[in-house]
Structure formats: C-alpha cells, structure tokens
Amino acid sequence: MTSVVWIIPLLPLAAFVAVTFWGERLPGRGAYVSIAGIVLAAVGGLAVLAEAAAGARADVTYTWIAAGSRPLVVGFVVDPLSAVMLAMVGCVASLITIYSVGYMAGDPHYPRFFSYLSLFQFSMLFLVLADNLLFIYIAWELVGLCSYLLIGFWFERPSAARAALKAFIVTRIGDFSMMIGILMLYLRTGSLRFDEVFHAIGTGSLGGPFLTVVALLVFGGAVGKSAQVPLHVWLPDAMEGPTPVSALIHAATMVAAGVYLVARAYPLFLLSPGHEALTVVAYVGGITALAAATMGVVEDDLKRVLAYSTMSQLGYMMLGLGVLGYSAGMFHLITHAVFKALLFLAAGSIIHAVATNDMKRMGGLARSMPVTFWTFLVAALALTAIPPFAGFFSKDAILLAAYAHDRVLWLVGLVGSFLTSLYMGRLCWYAFAGEFRGGAAGGAAHGDPRESPAVMTVPLVILAVLAIVLGWVGAEAFGDPFGHFIRFEGVEAPAGNSGVLLLSVAVAVAGWIAAGALYRWRLVSPETLTGNFRGLYTLLVRKYYVDDVYELVFVRAGAGVVWAAGAFDRYVVDGLVNLIGWLTGRVGSALRYVQTGREETYLLLAALGVVVIVLVRLVW
C-alpha cells in the first residue's frame, strides 16, 4: 500500500469528476459515489497507518520538470506523520460525508455539495501526502478554493458570499507570504523536497537569519490557513457554510493543515537561531488560544462559539509545537479533529432540529434529542480536557510541555483552559438545560425539536466513542504509543508532572462550575457582570475591534487606493491612450490620400522601390 499511496487521493478525485459531470444520474444523486470514494480512501489510509506503525516508510518521487541543473522532483511520502494524518482525514471525512446525506437532504444543489466535498477530500489527502513544498502549496490553494466554494455554497445568501470572499482573501495574504518563503527556499537550496531542504539545513548551507525569515514566511501561510492572530477574522464568518463543511474543513482538517505544515517543516523552525521562529509560533498560538477563548465567552451563535473554540484549540496546537511539544501538538490535532468534528456535527443536528443558530433561543434539548445531547456532552468534556476523555491527554501534554519550556505560555494556556470550560459550559447549559425557548423566530409551526435521523446520529455515536477512547493512545498509563510513534528526534516530551496535571484538571472543572453558577443556577446574573465590566464586554463582543481596524485600515484605505488608481487609469492612462488614438486617427486621415485603393498604384510604387534599390546598389 505504501508504494502506491498516490492512489488514495485519486479515489475522491475520481468521485469528484464523476459527481461533477453525472451527479444527478448517479446513485444517491452522487452522494453514494462520493461516500464510496472517501470510505475507500479511509480504508487505504488505515492500511497505510497500520503498515507505517509496523515500520514501513516510503517516498515515491519522480521528476516533474527537468529544468536544467535544478530538476523539479516531486513525490509522496509515507511516514508516521502523514500516515496518521491520512487515517484521520479519511475517517473523519468519511463520517462527515455520510452525515451530510442526512443534513443536506432536500437541498436543490445536493450533487454540487458532494462534488465539492470530494474535491476537498482529494486536495486534503494530497496535501497530507506531499513530500515537497510545491505539492503542499498546490494542495494548499486547492483546499483554499474548496473552502471558498463550500463557505459560499449557499451563495444566494449575500452573507455567505461575503464570508466566502473574506475567507479566501484573508487566507490569500498568508498564502502569499508562504509562496515567497517557498521561492526563497528554492532559490537557496534548488529543491523543494523536505528531505533535501532539511539536508541543506543540516549541512549548514541554509541557516542564520535567512532561515528564520523563511520559516516565518512559511508560517505566515499556516497563520492564514489555521486562523491564527492576526489572520483569524475569516473563521467565524466561515460558519455561513453548511455545518458538515464547518465540521470537516473549518474544524477537523483544513484549518489543521497549518499546524500540519509547521510539524512537517519542523526542522525549519527548530533550527532557526535561538528558536526565534518557534518562539514566534508559540506566542502566536498562545495569543490566539487566549483571545479566541475570550471572544467565545460572549458569543451567542452556536456555530461561532465552536469556531472560536477551534481557533483557540489551533492556538493550543501551535503553542504545543512552539514549546517543543511536537508529539503533543500533533496529538492534540488528531484528538481535536475527532471531538471538534463531533461538536460541529452535533451542533448541526441541533440546528437541523431548531432552525436557529442562537443558543439563547434553544434550551431543554437534552430531553428531546438524547443522542445529540450525550454525544455533544462527550465532545464538550473532551474539549475541556476532563479526564478520561481524549482532549485531556492531548491538552495536558501541551500544558506540560509549556510548563517545562516557558511559564508565561503555560499561564496563558491555563487561563485559556478555564475559559474553554466556561464557554462550553455556557453553551451546554443554554442549549440543553431548562425549557425550550422557541427556536427560530416565527418558527412556531416547527413544533418541538425532534431527534435527527440515523444517518446523522450514527456518525455522532462513532465519533463520540472515538472521542472517549482515542486519548488513551497517548496516555502515559498505556505507555504513550502515540508519542513513540510520532516524535521528532531531539525533541523529547518532558516527564509527567502530577502537580501541573491536577492543576489543569482543577482549572477545567472550575470553568464548568463557573459556567453553571452563571448560566444555570444564576448565582450571579450574567447581566450584572456585563454591566459591571461594560468596557471589557464591548471589547469582546466587538472581537477586539480587529475586524473594524481591518475595515478601516485595509478596506477603506484600499478603497481610497482603488479610487486613486481608478482616477489615474481613467484620466492619465486612458487619456494617453485616447491621445495616441486621436493622433493616429488624425495622421491616418491626413495620410489616407496616399491610399488610392488601386492596386496599380501600389504595384507602381513597389516597382519604383525596386528601381531605387537596384540603382543604389549599382551606383554605390
């Protein structure tokens, strides 16, 4: 399987082609084809994971462009990192695709959705398997395109269209930085393959401030794709897309691609002088983790809360990678993919039932939607790092690494952990406890919310089981097989520290209790709090004014530049062009008397020319 690993991305691609061209006529209006493609890919991914766990490694390369002395060699790699990602992407995407059959039922553009989904799956698998920056970049752009297409899937809604555009443009900024980084790397090393780049770093031909700059430029791409500060503004808006898309792209896989890139190119960051690049990664991650968590606390939109949570958790992953917790960061990526996908899918189930995103209009859903409730609760507990759920092991490992490396970041992580529990608790109390508060405005006819069909709940249950058990593969108690499987030579996880562990669990539990105190038992009214801390509240609700600053700085200033450029074009450039045109016209009308329109005249002039030329030749 490892030597023909390139087949795996081709399965969803084939499904994409088939569904795009014959969607309506295929079984299940294309959905079954799409599911078949990704399930087969998932099986292949699991097989590859098994083989990789047994020690198989592969790097399938071939020369794409033989450009002189610098042939462009590309290929696919199978190593623990890519094998784990392959299996994770395959499994999560399979479950989400199956879930979509229920969620998207009745949508007029049903086959289009599955065709996009297959294209995205292909791109993501392609990205994961790439052994070189060129393929990574191609896949990077492809997943960006799919993200754009899927966010704007309901493009007839202006907000969706705008959100798609925003996501695309904001991530482009990161991509541009990444492209410059890749080009600098290529110019210096003459290769884009990770092996050779790392080799160049090893031999010292790549190093010093240059390496730091390249690493940071490449990290810029990860910042954009993983919605880290300051390029985080697109992710909450991206929730305009269908919920399975949010689960797949904007929670489990694509946004994790930034983290994956950092992990894949880890030597690039690790070996920059004085860990400068890694420090930047860690602080960007930490700031994002904290800021996103604070914003999540005041958000009322169910999916947006989850989006902030995703940003926050991605920040944790970056933080983990930045503080030398290589396997911790990757482990959190995997576990997070599972439980965040579960959260989104459960949220989708809720939204499917109540037809609103506003959590203040829900309530009491625990009774009417038991499966959704229990799976959601499992995922929330996993997210808030309550043992023995998956998130506990991964987040704990990150905090442990941070504690060993940088206490400030550890504190940031701890506060973030508290806030995570707080907003998740708030979400759970609002949505599931109490009485039903009406659902969609004017949705009275909707009646009481009902549990979703099996095609949606079965993936939820599967994911919930995974969210419980998956963490154990990284547990110290079981010998930490994950940490032994995915690790980076020279970067060892710090030894366990029960004090730190207990403290983080305590903080998480405290968050839940605080949420319960605020939103369930009303010991302190939230309104009182917002009244007392009005400034802070407004700051959080306005998302630290980042969007407004961007609006002011980039959009308005951009509009000004555009206007100036337009004026320049209209009056100076067009003026010059028109002047030239006018002059040509005048000269033409002056010269048209030479054009007799008679062939004899022209022939005569040609003959005269011959005479002149021959005369000159003879006389000279």
Partner: protein
C-alpha cells in the same frame, strides 16, 4: 555562343513587359496576364541559372515547377475572384471596383 547573360537579358525584357501590363492595364484579366509574364521571366532565370550556375543540382527546375504550380493556383483563384466580382459588379475593370475606396 549563347551565355547566361543572353537568357538574363531575355528574362529582364519579358519581366518589364509583364510589369508594364500589370501597371498600365485596367482590366483585371489583363493584369493577371502581366503577372503570368513576370512569373515566366522568373522561371527563365531559374532554369538558366540551373543550367549555367549549378548544373550539378536540379534545384532550379524544381523551383520552376513549383512556380508553375503556384501560378496555376494563382490563376485559378484570381479568375474565380474576377468572376465573382463580375457577377456582383458587372465589370472586370479594376478602377470601377472602388467600393472600399475612401
């Protein structure tokens, strides 16, 4: 003794006749005939050069044959055009065909 120059002089004179016909005739068919004369003059040159300047090769005659072939093409298309123009404007005199003139 006939030399290359003899043929070249004959060719030059024939060419001048053709040029004069092409320049001074009003009728399109007559102009076409002038062009044919010029092509023949060129062919004489080609064949004469082949004999005197490069007798080892056959290239001059090859070119002459190609010129004859293309002359046939040119005549066919030219006459077809003249016929089409005649059908449209009822004249073959080129100074009457002045629709495109300013």
């Amino acid at each position: 003794m006939i030399t290359l120059t003899h043929y070249l002089v004959l060719s030059a004179l024939l060419f001048a006749l053709g040029l004069y016909a092409a320049l001074s005739r009003r009728n399109a068919v007559a102009m076409l005939m002038g062009i044919e004369l010029m092509l023949n003059a060129a062919n004489i040159n080609l064949v004469a050069f082949n004999k005197y300047a490069a007798p080892g090769a056959i290239q001059g005659q090859i070119f002459a044959l190609i010129v004859i072939t293309l002359a046939a093409c040119e005549a066919a298309v030219g006459l077809a055009l003249i016929l089409a123009a005649y059908r449209r404007f009822e004249t073959t005199y080129v100074d009457d065909l002045n629709l495109m003139k300013w």
